[in-house]
């Protein structure tokens, strides 16, 4: 059962990482315009390819 000493902190750290990533995404405005983000990827830039 000694493996638990590792595994529980590892599981918590991974979960915490997800939580921090979510809060960061929320704060930096990633969810402000979901429709626009989906469409923007399709817009052609008028710059010639390098």
């Amino acid at each position: 059962m000694n493996v638990l000493i590792f595994m529980i902190p590892v599981a918590l750290a991974l979960g915490g990482l997800g939580l921090i990533a979510f809060i960061w995404a929320l704060k930096s405005g990633q969810f402000d315009d979901p429709d626009g983000a989906a469409e923007r990827i399709l817009i052609d830039e008028d710059r010639p390819a390098p």
């Binding site: 918590l12 626009g36 923007r40 008028d46």
Partner: protein
């Protein structure tokens, strides 16, 4: 970089907006150093093509540094430096075939967004805690007897160390609300929630310390997580409804031309107009506030104010109300305070009375919690006393009482109403129907009688030339004069005639008609006495006379909306009767009412008569839904049990209504009532289910069999069932769903 020549959405999801009058957005520009910023609301942008077109078009203007359109809510932020005029930005967007209006995002919106973000963060933290503690709890339950007590205690300690900060952080919305309710000496739903969570944590630490088998850390976290989902959905719904209402308001009025000292004209926001200001109204402009006419005499379209189709001539000193449209040349007006005028004072009083009545309305959820809160506390107390009397120790009695509190915790009850409301409002939102209050759906669901306003609600509002009475030549000749006038009848004549030439030397005579020269012959178009005819008949006609020829009469009718008759018929099938209540003349109201199949109507109703009629209906025990758009409907809208206003309604009416629909179809009324009824049925089902759940769960807890595992399964299971039940509403409902274009609605 070129801009596509064709206007509007390149994917054809939305027709191009016809260029109306572009208001000067200058008062909405904010300055920081030499950098200007403007927030715009753009209507009609539906796809990536629109996005690229608008952003490139505005970005190409000189000095523009930021031009970013948010496709989800239609808001656009433009920042620039240099001499670019704000009006050019709006004109560019309008020129591309989209309607645009400046707006002020306001602090209230930011506050709501902040509150919503706080709830979402709390929900994420609670979700993290619940998932991780569940991981530990499941291993404890699965381990059973094989797990050593030391390992189990370790698991409980870790769970407790996670749960404490998570609950302290995520539970704040509940704790704060419970504290406030105690201070106000009224128990709300948050009281038992707070009690259950705090006791569960405390008891679990006690168990852990003495190495007992049962810890409820997972229950405390899951509980808060589920409850926060309901809270978050509720907050988001409110904010979106609020934003949609704001957007509608921004599209209506925004700026006016104020005459400063010395006669200099400046553009100001409608909100900044003060009593005593002198304003200049161009022909075709809507009056933003109540005002006195200074000069000169003009005709006013009072359709939105009194419901009457025939325009009213107003001399110096006459009062015009917000919503009246100036039909002739530029007019100078002086704004007055609302209370100075009897019509507005009347309406204000009725609005207040309506407000009081509505705040007295108790939501189904409130009624449920009023029964629920004391019941739960009494049952928990009984459990404690019962076990003590039965000879169990103090510890066992406390333990059972706390499990009762945990297991009855209102997860399902708290989710029952909000989830249904969110799903229903989301559906309506996609159909461009915006609810203004949380209990609007419940009240609309209860109605059994609809009172329609006529002008602009049952009818299109714009009069139409009665066909078959005049020859084409007559129409063509008269239209040459009519093209020079903004009078609604003239416009109707022009619509019937189509494009053509204009007469020479056209002159408008307020309150009478138009004169001009047709092929050198003087001609007159206007009221009967204006052209020299003695006719005491109805007001819905225009007379035309060229030279000494015999006068010709044109008749106009206020055409009912094509789907109005169908709407009335469908409402009847749903057991809802209809009636018409209008400020217009008896003849026109009777005609419109018969055309849509309503056999009860009242004409020439003042705002007061309208409100009195509603009171009378209420005394008869009817639950009335009022549908109207005019200023004269505002009092009735506020007084009715529930009310709906079209998006084109005047501000006061839109604010007084429970629900606003944009778009032209009055058929929305049927949809709204249908969805509201379905939503109420689902809500009642959900409350019924929650009650059933408690009937089963409470005896189990009383008997002392509610282990943490049973609590977890029962709580998650009941919440899930309630949510799934609510989602049934988002499925296909009679009448079909929104089109693809609606999907990304405003």
């Amino acid at each position: 970089m070129t801009i596509e020549a064709e206007a509007g959405c390149p994917s054809g999801l939305e027709p191009a907006a016809r260029g109306g009058q572009v208001q000067d957005p200058a008062p909405f520009v904010t300055r920081a150093g030499d950098r200007n910023a403007l927030d715009l609301l753009v209507r009609g942008a539906k796809c990536g093509g629109c996005l690229a077109k608008i952003e490139k078009g505005v970005g190409a203007l000189p000095g523009v540094e930021v031009a970013r359109l948010n496709l989800s809510n239609g808001r656009m932020r433009v920042e620039w430096s240099g001499a670019l005029k704000a009006k050019q930005v709006v004109e560019t967007v309008a020129g591309l075939g989209y309607s645009a209006a400046a707006f002020d995002p306001g602090d209230a919106d930011k506050e709501r967004l902040k509150a919503e973000r706080k709830l979402l963060t709390a929900m994420a933290v609670a979700g993290f805690g619940a998932a991780n503690i569940m991981l530990l709890s499941v291993s404890v339950w699965a381990g059973g007897a094989d797990m050593g007590p030391e390992t189990r205690q370790l698991m409980h300690w870790i769970a407790g160390l996670i749960a404490t900060p998570v609950v302290a952080f995520s539970g704040r919305p509940f704790f704060e609300s419970a504290y406030a309710s105690i201070k106000a000496r009224r128990l709300n739903m948050d009281m038992p929630i707070t009690l259950a969570v705090v006791l569960a944590i405390g008891m679990s630490f006690y168990e852990t310390l003495k190495n007992g088998p049962h810890a409820y850390f997972d229950a405390a976290c899951t509980l808060i997580f589920f409850l926060l989902i309901g809270r978050f959905l509720d907050a988001r719904l409110r904010r979106r409804a609020y934003a949609a209402a704001n957007a509608l308001a921004a599209m209506q009025t925004s700026t006016a031309t104020r005459l400063a000292e010395g006669g200099k004209a400046e553009a100001v926001r409608a909100a900044d107009i003060r009593p005593g200001d002198r304003l200049m109204l161009a022909a075709g402009e809507q009056c933003p506030v109540d005002a006195l006419v200074i000069s000169p005499e003009s005709e006013w379209d009072m359709r939105l104010v009194t419901g009457e189709v025939t325009p009213v001539a107003m001399r110096e000193g006459g009062t015009v109300h917000a919503g009246a449209v100036n039909l002739l040349g530029p007019v100078e007006i002086k704004t007055i305070a609302r209370a100075q005028d009897s019509l507005m004072a009347d309406i204000a009083r009725m609005l207040e009375a309506g407000e009081q009545k509505k705040s007295a309305y108790r939501r189904i959820a409130d009624k449920a919690s009023e029964i629920y809160v004391p019941t739960v506390h009494i049952v928990a107390l009984l459990a404690f006393v019962g076990w003590l009397v039965a000879g169990a120790g103090l510890e066992r009695a406390v333990f059972t009482a706390v499990t009762v509190l945990i297991i009855t915790c209102p997860c399902a009850l708290a989710l029952a109403a909000p989830v249904v409301q969110v799903v229903a409002a989301g559906r309506l939102f996609r159909d461009h129907v915006y609810l203004s209050s949380g209990d609007a759906l419940e009240r609309i669901a209860a109605i059994d009688h609809v009172v329609f306003d006529k002008t602009g609600t049952l009818t299109l509002g714009d009069p139409v030339l009665t066909p078959g009475l005049n020859t084409e030549t007559q129409i063509e000749l008269a239209a040459r004069l009519a093209r020079g006038s903004r009078h609604p009848f003239s416009r109707a004549l022009v619509r019937a005639a189509g494009a053509g030439v204009l007469a020479d030397q056209i002159e408008e005579h307020p309150g009478s008609g138009v004169t001009g020269l047709i092929d050198g012959v003087p001609a007159r178009l206007g009221k009967a006495d204006f052209v020299g005819v003695d006719d005491a008949g109805s007001g819905s006609s225009l007379w035309f006379r060229r030279g000494d020829e015999a006068p010709v009469c044109f008749r106009f009718s206020d055409v009912t909306r094509p789907e109005a008759a169908d709407t009335v018929a469908q409402l009847k099938l749903m057991g809802v009767s209809s009636e018409v209540l209008s400020g217009d003349s008896e003849e026109r109201v009777a005609l419109a009412a018969r055309a849509v199949g309503v056999d009860r109507w009242t004409s020439q109703a003042s705002p007061r008569t309208k409100a009195e009629r509603l009171d009378q209906l209420e005394r008869e025990g009817r639950k009335v839904l009022m549908v109207g758009d005019g200023l004269n409907d505002a009092g009735a809208l506020a007084k009715a049990h529930a009310s709906i206003a079209p998006g084109g309604a005047v501000d006061v009416s839109r604010l007084a209504a429970d629900c606003v629909f944009s778009g032209d179809s009055i058929g929305s009324v049927v949809r709204i009532v249908r969805i509201a009824r379905k939503a109420r049925a689902l809500m009642l089902e959900n409350f019924g289910f929650s009650a059933l759940y408690n009937l089963v769960a409470v005896p189990i807890a009383l008997a002392g069999w509610a282990t943490p595992m049973v609590a977890a399964i029962a709580m998650s299971g009941s919440s899930l069932i309630v949510t799934l039940n609510a989602l049934r509403l988002s499925g296909r409902l009679a009448g079909g769903g929104g089109t693809t274009a609606d999907r990304r609605g405003a």
